[in-house]
């Protein structure tokens, strides 16, 4: 059985005094509504950032294929880059469709074209890119199809930054200028990494990979983009592959670039959810 002690009685006195002093709930000095967030967090799950990664790498790969083709690079390299673009386009569709609340209605995306909706522009771009990339991979109407795949591929690798940037989520809209550049650079990093892992050793790939790693290092070091806890993603995307490339460890750099590219996109979407819950 419990016995009253001096401590227990002091505690009860303390409670009585605090209760007697109780003031009604106040928020006069605070300009928020019960500290409740105003915005709704994004409902997207991992499929959307995974699509940013796959679609971006595919788009960049189509541009790499076109550049390689124009300059008369190794035919195997051109063929593999085109195939990566086509496979990426094919993988993109199920990722996007499975994230829809009503997947069976995915074709409604092509009901209208709205230039002011980055999601609409993206849906049409993916459709055009998919057709062009597939045609280029099967060498159908190649000079035109590969050029079309490269042009739409450039949009594929960058528009996802606009998709996040032009929203009401504070963290994303603050970085509306940086995100398309970041996604574009890391998409190219991913595309050359995939080709290097496929066994291609063309020095142009290393040069592109180096450029992407330098940009990603600079972007990761810039103040504020992703929260600190995403430092690992930033490191894998920028400084780690940069160092590995300087020491000519190209395949290791390629693995790091791919991981970093995927993880930074996951991090940006997760950070957007946190940003929506911030009290203004």
């Amino acid at each position: 059985m419990k016995r009253p002690t001096p401590e227990s009685e002091r505690r009860l006195d303390e409670l009585r005094e605090r209760a007697a002093q109780h003031q009604p709930a106040q928020q006069s000095s605070k300009l928020s509504y019960h500290d409740l967030p105003l915005l709704k967090p994004p409902v997207w799950t991992w499929e959307i950032p995974a699509y940013f990664f796959v679609g971006g790498a595919a788009g960049a790969s189509a541009m790499v294929a076109f550049a390689a083709q124009l300059t008369g690079a190794n035919a195997d390299l051109v063929r593999d880059a085109r195939r990566i673009a086509a496979i990426g386009a094919v993988l993109s569709a199920p990722l996007l469709i499975s994230d829809l609340g009503r997947p069976e209605r995915f074709l409604n995306m092509l009901r209208v074209f709205k230039v002011r909706s980055p999601m609409s522009v993206g849906a049409w771009t993916l459709t055009a890119f998919g057709g062009a990339a597939a045609a280029a991979a099967f060498e159908i109407a190649t000079p035109i199809s590969s050029a079309a795949a490269a042009a739409t591929g450039l949009v594929m690798s960058t528009y996802t930054g606009v998709l996040l940037g032009a929203t009401a989520i504070p963290l994303w809209s603050r970085n509306a200028r940086m995100l398309p550049v970041h996604f574009g650079a890391s998409s190219f990093g991913s595309a050359v990494s995939l080709l290097e892992l496929r066994g291609h050793t063309d020095a142009a790939l290393n040069a592109l990979g180096l450029g992407a790693a330098i940009f990603e290092t600079a972007a990761g070091a810039a103040p504020s983009p992703t929260p600190r806890r995403h430092a690992l993603a930033d490191a894998l995307a920028g400084p780690v592959p940069l160092l590995l490339r300087l020491f000519n460890k190209r395949k290791a750099a390629a693995v790091s670039t791919l991981l970093g590219s995927l993880l930074t996109r996951l991090a940006w979407v997760e950070a957007g959810k946190a940003s929506a819950r911030d009290i203004a």
Binding site: T71, K114, T158, G161, A176, F188
Partner: protein, 281 residues
């Protein structure tokens, strides 16, 4: 209907003819008349068959609804203040309450409508913003494009939902359910212009009576361009989670697309240069 201002639709219903009679309607919600009864919340749920979204004790005053969402289209806010002697007629020990029934703002420049890739979200003949449930595919992009956190995707259904401004009732010539159920006239429905004049008159009257902290919240000066549902509140509107300078997200399109175009150009050039000058195989 014989009225020349109405057009008969294929389904037999009549709509107002946009050419001859554009009647832009609105909500004017006057928090100084709200008694926090939540009849608007109940009326909205009942008329629109909105599913329940949980019975939770929030611990935040008497507000257990806490926010608008996919299954909450009217939400009564309970803003508490420490007592100010001589204001509000309460005893000095009592907190003062201000209530305000929140709703979709039906923005003039609506982020949800602009961003919707399917064309599901449209502007109706009444000037309101309406989600067509037979078209929405639940992409979730409107959710991150609403600067007021109103629209949300319903997890079980998969589609996005928000206040319809009782489009069905307005088509039938009735006022929205919440306005009809409001017992104090806090929720006024009518022609937008007339409501704005009524709000100005109400503010003048309140200021003359000494309630000098009464203000109208209607973001006409912001990129949102004004709301079809606007509010009269006391003090800083941010206490009601009504932001001071909201932005429609389309304001970021130009800078973001410019950055994307620049990045695409640099990357294309970089790829060509790398293969033209750096290619050693």
């Amino acid at each position: 209907m014989a009225d020349g201002r109405m057009t008969t639709m294929d389904d037999g219903s009549a709509i107002r003819n946009p050419q001859s009679a554009i009647r832009t309607t609105g909500f004017f919600t006057d928090s100084t008349l709200c008694i926090g009864c939540k009849a608007c919340e109940v009326a909205c749920k009942e008329w629109n068959d909105v599913p329940d979204d949980g019975f939770l004790w929030s611990g935040l005053s008497y507000d257990n609804t806490t926010a608008l969402g996919h299954s909450t289209w009217r939400h009564v806010k309970f803003v508490e203040h420490a007592a100010t002697i001589g204001v509000g007629g309460n005893s000095p020990e009592q907190a003062t309450w201000q209530f305000s029934s929140d709703v979709c703002k039906h923005c003039e420049n609506a982020g949800c409508l602009e961003s919707c890739p399917t064309g599901s979200i449209v502007r109706t003949e009444f000037g309101s913003v309406f989600v067509q449930p037979d078209i929405c595919n639940g992409c979730g992009y409107c959710v991150v494009n609403c600067p007021f956190g109103v629209i949300d995707r319903e997890p079980d259904d998969g589609r996005a939902f928000k206040c319809t401004f009782c489009y069905d009732r307005q088509r039938a010539g009735e006022q929205p359910a919440c306005a009809k159920a409001c017992p104090t006239g806090s929720i006024l429905f009518g022609d937008l212009d007339a409501l704005e004049r009524a709000a100005d008159a109400r503010i003048a009257k309140l200021h003359a009576a000494g309630m000098t902290d009464a203000t109208i919240w209607n973001p006409k000066e912001s990129s949102v361009g004004g709301a079809h549902a606007f509010f009269l509140v006391r003090g800083d509107a941010r206490q009601y989670n009504l932001p001071a300078n909201p932005d429609v997200p389309t304001v970021h399109l130009k800078s973001s697309w410019s950055a994307a175009a620049t990045a695409a150009g640099v990357l294309a050039l970089g790829a060509l240069m790398a293969f033209a000058f750096g290619s050693k195989r």
